[in-house]
Symmetry: C2
Subunit: 388 residues, 2 copies
């Protein structure tokens, strides 16, 4: 029985993680749950799974959760510290990090420093602090298992090859909801059109990242950290059917690919059951029904965020954290209808251009760069000039 | 430095094996070579690779080889016994079995009984005597590494999964040269048209087997033995581009696939370098240039040999050996222009129907069944009735 903590249990990945637990009650025991501020949902989950502890990230929702769970034996924690405490708790085998954005960084590091198996669904942490996280994982003998479908695919392709002899990583992308829409029309699209992803049902932030292809840019940086492969060896391939989740080409010319239906329960369960595979009630992939799989080159002229990703991956230092933060701020503004979609890339580009990069940054320097980039986006949006 | 023996060094797989050795002279040393009767080519290879021993299978070509290699320090062997002796020689790490047909059986068993790593390009041996060979391999701790591109692909997909949790093996086939030609037209095709394989350049026998799809039938039986998977779990998928060499679907719904260009040097080199991967000068697979990969269901009504394969795999015993022998005899007759292409399946079907199956056969019983099926084909071709 694997004792697991699910951080971000009320989000899309968190809910699916709990679905896997429900399907395999003999394999997993939930010992900890955390949410940002959805106290009602977290309360239901605590009642169902009876974890030892639960944490709510937003301090202001703490009293509400306490009221809802009055009399429950589950220990209740609150705030960033509470979430980090939950992630670092004793008597835990695996921590699933399903918190979105930079907020996952400290809890993820907490779990890594306890030497846990960390199922990492959050890509921003590796983008911001990949070098640091991998270094800490080595030091504390923690194992980071990717949950992002592409990185899970790459991880599976590398199994049995001891990470040796990689010629290229072929990172696939469906191309996102705007693949077939000319860039000239981006300005006239509604939010609904922009967020209508053809293959994956995901949270709002990652859906916007798919539309700008920033999602793939972040994944290049993520892959570089996870697999220790330089960015020149990571290629993006557009594959609209999203059946091949990614591929690895080895030095002998052999290409291993992982395929599956587009359901996050697949990579989540793999990270949870690794190195075993457990049965799944999901429908099987039917390649004959698909009939054909297509592959196209990416179009960085149309999606400049792709180029930002390659550049930030090559530069390293604090630049990936700045890219991530500028994007986070820009997307948040777009989701609040206070920034047009077409201005997301140009805003990010200006912040990147103004940044003075710091090589091999500490966590403090990374967080500082993150805060700086957020500020810059606010200032730029209010028409001020960027200070480097 | 791996010391290797190449059995069948003058055939298509043998020549490519030696190409791999030429590309990696620091990795491999050829210590033994054998050919059926191409004394000139074998002589050239002996001069180049200076093996400890060389064998010519056809007794009648022995004097010729001795003449050509007069004064060479390489020990010369002849006949079936000579080839078996070469395969069982001391001081050998790996034996590549690239002999076509049933003639490979005794040498392959010789190498297995010495506990060698056996790179097996020959599928007939596993079809005829799969159960026996795998049992001997376990007993003598020999490792059988498949060289057939499909089985190499399956083997690679299973690496890192310890053979656990297989839901289905998806055996791909290009569909062969007759995929898009209606069965009614088979009777009017020339030998050149029948043997014009769209993807793979191979020897004549296997090219005819591609046209009848008997090749895939034999591969079902081969996969069943190699991977210990029942025939119900082996599905054939038509994939005309022949880029995906085969796939494995696991119980969690994840599908691993191995892709590559259609060049036998890839699976040959993998079997030779396993568990490592060596670099290769072959062109890389360019999926974007392909643009699309297609998948179709097979058509057993048009290619009845497929059904024979499924039935023989299910029945086991001596039936697979009879299927193989009847096919070998029928294809030989076709290649000598003494049997029309369209009569290959019906002839095989009649021999299968007349066979009295023996479960868990000994080698003697297998060879007896093989000889019986050859005789039956001869008799049927001369209009006699089949005796069971």
């Amino acid at each position: 029985m694997k004792r697991i903590v699910v951080l971000g249990s009320t989000g899309s990945i968190g809910l699916n993680t709990l679905n896997v637990v429900r399907e395999h009650p003999e394999e997993f025991q939930v010992v900890g749950l955390s949410a940002w501020d959805n106290a009602e949902r977290l309360c239901e989950q605590v009642r169902e799974f009876k974890p030892r502890a639960a944490a709510i990230g937003r301090e202001g929702s703490s009293l509400k959760l306490k009221g809802l769970l009055d009399g429950s034996p589950t220990r209740l924690l609150a705030g960033e510290e509470g979430v980090v405490e939950l992630a670092s708790m004793d008597g835990v085998d695996q921590v699933i990090v399903a918190i979105t954005g930079a907020a996952a960084l400290k809890p993820a590091l907490g779990a890594i420093r306890e030497g846990r198996i960390v199922g990492l669904a959050n890509k921003e942490t590796l983008v911001m602090a990949g070098e640091l996280m991998m270094e800490e994982a080595r030091k504390h003998q923690a194992k980071i298992l990717p949950i992002d479908s592409e990185h899970s695919a790459i991880f599976q392709c590398l199994e049995g090859n001891s990470g040796q002899g990689i010629r290229r990583i072929l990172l696939t992308t469906s191309g996102g909801p705007l693949k077939d829409i000319p860039a000239e029309r981006f300005g006239s699209l509604s939010k609904t059109q922009i967020m209508d992803h053809p293959r994956w049902k995901m949270g709002p932030k990652i859906t916007v990242d798919s539309a700008t292809m920033m999602n793939k840019a972040l994944e290049i940086i993520e892959a570089r950290s996870l697999f220790g492969v330089p960015s020149e060896k990571i290629e993006v391939v557009v594959h609209p059917e999203a059946v091949v989740h990614s591929m690895v080409e080895f030095v002998d010319g052999s290409v291993m690919a992982q395929l599956g239906i587009t359901d996050m329960r697949l990579p989540i369960q793999y990270a949870m059951s690794y190195p075993r595979r457990l049965s799944s009630s999901l429908p099987a992939l039917d390649l004959v029904a698909f009939g054909r799989l297509t592959f196209e080159p990416p179009n960085p002229a149309k999606f400049p965020c792709l180029t930002f990703g390659v550049e930030a991956a090559r530069a390293g230092g604090t630049l990936p954290a700045v890219l991530n933060a500028a994007n986070e701020a820009a997307v948040a503004a777009f989701l609040k209808d206070s920034l047009p979609f077409t201005q997301i890339p140009s805003l990010i580009e200006r912040v990147l251009g103004a940044h003075r990069n710091t090589a091999h940054p500490t966590l403090a320097q990374i967080l500082e760069a993150d805060a700086w980039a957020h500020e810059q986006v606010t200032e730029l949006r209010h028409g001020k000039e960027v200070a480097g």
